[in-house]
């Protein structure tokens, strides 16, 4: 079902409620696709669980990296403890994304205390916004809510509206309390909802060469690729200026690097501002790369240019891809990643002739906000390259991963997120963390991945040595149990 985007409300529903997304499943990919849209998909629940992530940090990554912004976490000081990561990202990746002077990120906490949980923290928030405005003079102020401010019931939207009027800059309240969702990507939706409500402006004109790309902080590969077919990328939202955000409504299309990330923003741009969203899987693997570029060509009237581009890309990369396939043929792999990008990684591995033995994917959205079945990246994967055995929906539950890897023992493990790699290494399995979401895209992406995997397989002395000295905090009993022992039917 298509999400009905409503930019008049302050909050967006979490994914469990909006998309019917789940965090517990054990079976095969085809099995999951088969039940996901037939009303048979029931979330399963872990009686034992480990730390997840929460919406507030994912909301943060959609707004902290916006140029000339300031961010206030409205909560105890711990609710923004990891935000310094984004200050580092801005410094390091900004340089690769055209930010000439990657300035200090301005990150604040209202630092709520026990009194505020009794009497409310709205006065502190109002005072904080004024002080941030004095100190930073930002072009936009974002407020991120937390469990404490949410449970206490602070009127954050009211304070933001009053401050906006007083200060004359947008003050955007983003509702991303951790306890509301077990799917931390709900935080992306919350962040994008704020951006769409307050910062994207109605189009003044149409820019027929401008294409929105919803992404993280991957290297800028699209200026070149789009440039060759007469298009310009408009990256959303990291590193964007307010002008870039405002004029995203004038773009000719929106594309997704990972539909799990950009689902809500793509749908909002389409429904509220008439920018059509590409509704097929992202360009990972040769098959999908060709389809994706042709669809983009169709949407932007660049069909002929796209054929030339694909021809050039094939000529440039297919010979090396063939060599890599030969070297990697028959090697086995295991994947752990967020949903849509995980599907993309499996496609890339298979096209490089690796055998994917299984995957632990953080959650599953039966459909994205656009409601299009053609955009179901897991379904598309299964149709293109067959079922994935051992497909496990598992929100970073390390105990399950440690158990599974101990049995599966693949030749290589690929991870998309931090915290998961060490279990590969502890078992002596060469492990690769893919930090840049653009790394595996297109024809060149297959070469990038292939060479990286080959490199990891060839240089395995480090993990082999680590295996000999690995410490495990898991009991022998647990490692001998079925990995899904704690996955229960009823909530």
């Amino acid at each position: 079902m298509t999400t009905k985007i409503n930019l008049d409300t302050a909050q967006v529903e979490v994914r469990e409620a909006r998309l019917g997304s789940v965090t517990g499943y054990a079976g095969t990919a085809a099995g999951l696709v088969g039940c996901a849209r037939t009303g048979k998909l029931k979330d399963r629940y872990r009686t034992f669980s480990q730390c997840l992530g929460c919406s507030t940090s994912n909301a943060a990554c959609t707004v902290i990296l916006i140029q000339e912004s300031a961010v206030i976490s409205h909560g105890p000081v711990g609710c923004s403890a990891c935000f310094h990561d984004y200050a580092f990202v801005y410094r390091v990746n900004g340089k690769h994304r055209g930010v000439e002077n990657p300035t200090q990120r301005r990150i604040f906490s209202t630092n709520l205390d026990e009194n505020d949980t009794v009497f409310g923290g709205t006065q502190k928030l109002a005072d904080s916004i004024r002080e941030v405005h004095r100190r930073v003079a930002p072009k936009v102020i974002f407020i991120l809510t937390t469990c404490s401010s949410g449970i206490v019931g602070d009127d954050v939207e009211g304070v933001a509206a009053a401050a906006e009027e007083e200060l004359g800059v947008p003050v955007v309240a983003i509702f991303c309390e951790g306890f509301r969702s077990r799917i931390w990507t709900s935080g992306f939706d919350a962040g994008y909802h704020g951006v769409a409500r307050k910062l994207i402006k109605p189009p003044q004109k149409k820019q027929t060469d401008l294409v929105n790309i919803v992404n993280f902080w991957g290297a800028d590969i699209f200026s070149d690729l789009f440039g060759r077919i007469g298009l310009r990328p408009n990256y959303l939202t990291p590193f964007a200026t307010l002008e870039q955000l405002a004029e995203s409504s004038e773009a000719v299309a929106t594309v997704q690097i990972c539909a799990t990330l950009g689902s809500y923003l793509g749908a909002a741009l389409e429904q509220a501002y008439g920018v059509p969203e590409i509704k097929i899987s992202a360009p990972y693997g040769v098959l999908q790369t060709d389809r994706w570029w042709r669809e983009l060509g169709r949407m932007t009237g660049k069909e002929a240019e796209v054929e030339t581009l694909l021809e050039e890309e094939r000529a440039a990369w297919l010979p090396r891809i063939a060599e890599l396939r030969q070297k990697l043929s028959g090697k086995t792999a295991y994947v752990t990643a967020g949903a849509s990008h995980g599907h993309a990684m499996i496609a890339v591995l298979r096209e490089l002739s690796l055998e994917v033995q299984g995957a632990a994917v953080f959650h599953h959205d039966p459909l994205y906000d656009n409601g299009a079945e053609s955009a179901d990246s897991l379904q598309n994967l299964v149709q293109d390259s067959g079922d994935v055995p051992g497909y496990n929906v598992c929100n970073k539950q390390e105990f399950e991963l440690a158990n599974i890897l101990n049995r599966v023992r693949p030749d290589i493990m690929l991870a998309r997120h931090g915290g998961m790699t060490r279990w590969g290494a502890k078992y002596g399995i060469p492990t690769v963390l893919v930090g840049d979401e653009h790394f595996g895209m297109g024809y060149k992406g297959l070469v990038n991945y292939g060479e990286r995997i080959l490199d990891a397989l060839e240089n395995d002395e480090f993990v082999k040595n680590l295996e000999k000295h690995a410490i495990t905090p898991y009991t022998k009993w647990w490692l001998e149990q079925d990995p899904y022992t704690f996955l229960q039917e009823e909530v």
Binding site: F48, L52, P76, A81, H84, D116, T146, S148
Partner: protein, 439 residues
């Protein structure tokens, strides 16, 4: 009044879960919202320890637990923890959700303890305090609910055994190195130190022997004071407090003599150890002097530190007298409660009769940065801070030493700055950064 903090240098009360992570074979169990553990492990670096990071069991409280209470969920996770995690001590820490809702965590934990499990609970809701304060609550909870149960309380005191409370695990990025140096120098004067944290401690065996110690040592201006006070009232152990980090020859010797006097140690042995250590230390300071005096190019002549009170005072005393770098405006960002601020000011003032060292207490490090941007001191500056400060140092043309958390620009494993050896390491690190600017 706003209580705004820009660029936080510490985290909230539940950050003290890292205190548990630092105890070999102990595991924290969070009864909290889903993101608290990840926030904390991403704030610190190399924060995994034995069973930290993604290994930490958590109830991941959702709307259901917030509305209907989360005791059932906590029981489930504790049952699973017992089966899945190979640990000798479990410490249940509660977050904002559980504490606002009012779950009866002590009762749930009591059930498990009565069934024979080594388990402790402590309230660490983020809105209650920060991790500097909460560290003491966690340690005291372990003392009351675990040590007190397993210890042979009637066993005689061991006159050579001492409990040491100093660097906060992980909050002090040099905690492992500092505790190791404390253990080494205390051994040098004839004491066996329970350092309690890190792989160089004997873990829970050390914890169990806490009541046997002859006395306690606190190396801190204020954080940790609640622990030694608690032990004083609980086991009648007196404590010796050294109110800042002893770095280098002068201060480490002062620390050891202070301990020796407090505990009436064998003077000859103590002085012999000090003499040997000072001999090693000052040979290197002579080498340093040769370098400083003969280097023909530019070197830092003054510094600012943005750090906790123990480090700010420790750096000032050491760098002024033993390295010749003059402390200018200093910024204490650990949220020092007001009652301790005067004593810290006085301690810093006693550093030199020739100069005043301006100091500010405020966890809002954004204000510290504003002040440093405006500061106009003569000569090349050195900024000692956290990863937040790298860009400021660059803008000011300062040398920069990352010595606090968060620490994205520096990997620290077992380096320490405390003691004789730590002082020399600090000198090496400062001039490593300085000389790296010559290309």
């Amino acid at each position: 009044m706003s209580s705004l903090i820009e660029q936080e240098r510490y985290t909230c009360a539940i950050g003290a879960l890292q205190t548990v992570v630092a105890i070999p074979r102990a595991v924290p169990v969070l009864h909290s919202g889903p993101g608290c553990g990840t926030m904390v492990s991403r704030f610190y670096t190399q924060s995994t320890g034995y069973a930290g990071g993604n290994t930490i069991p958590c109830t991941n409280s959702s709307e259901v637990e917030v509305i209907f209470g989360g005791e059932k969920r906590l029981r489930q996770v504790l049952e699973g923890t017992g089966k899945v995690i190979d640990a000798d001590l479990q410490v249940v820490l509660t977050g904002c959700t559980a504490d606002i809702v009012g779950d009866d965590v002590p009762e749930v934990v009591r059930e498990f303890r009565e069934a024979g499990r080594s388990i402790v609970h402590v309230s660490t809701a983020g809105f209650k305090s920060n991790n500097y304060v909460s560290h003491s609550n966690v340690v005291n909870a372990i003392i009351d609910q675990y040590v007190d149960v397993v210890a042979a309380k009637d066993a005689p005191r061991d006159p050579t055994l001492v409990n040491v409370f100093a660097s906060l695990p992980f909050q002090d990025p040099f905690w492992k190195g500092n505790l190791r140096e404390l253990k080494r120098i205390l051994a040098g004067v004839g004491l066996r130190a329970n350092i309690l944290f890190g792989p160089e401690s004997d873990g829970l065996e050390e914890w169990a022997s806490i009541p046997q110690a002859a006395f306690n040592i606190l190396v801190s201006p204020w954080y940790g004071l609640d622990i030694v006070r608690h032990l004083e009232s609980k086991y009648g152990q007196s404590y010796f407090q050294f109110p800042y980090l002893p770095i280098g020859g002068n201060e480490t010797t002062k620390f050891l003599r202070g301990v020796a006097e407090f505990a009436d140690l064998d003077r000859k042995r103590v002085e012999a150890f000090i003499a040997r250590e000072e001999n090693v230390f000052y040979e290197e300071i002579q080498n340093l002097a040769t370098f400083l005096l003969e280097f023909r190019y530019n070197l830092p002549n003054h510094f600012h530190a943005i750090h906790d009170a123990g480090y700010v005072v420790g750096f000032a005393k050491f760098l002024l007298h033993e390295v010749g770098i003059v402390p200018k405006e200093q910024f204490i960002v650990d949220g020092t409660p007001e009652e301790f601020q005067d004593a810290i000011r006085a301690e810093l003032a006693s550093t030199s009769s020739k100069r005043e060292i301006p100091v500010t207490f405020d966890p809002d490090a954004g204000l510290a940065q504003e002040a440093i941007r405006l500061a106009d001191n003569h000569g090349r500056g050195l900024l000692i801070g956290s990863g937040w400060d790298k860009l400021l140092a660059q803008d000011k043309g300062f040398d920069f030493l990352s010595a606090g958390v968060p620490s994205p620009y520096r990997l620290v494993l077992t380096t320490g700055y405390l003691g004789y050896r730590g002082g020399l390491r600090l000198v090496e690190d400062i001039y490593d950064r300085v000389l790296a600017t010559y290309k």
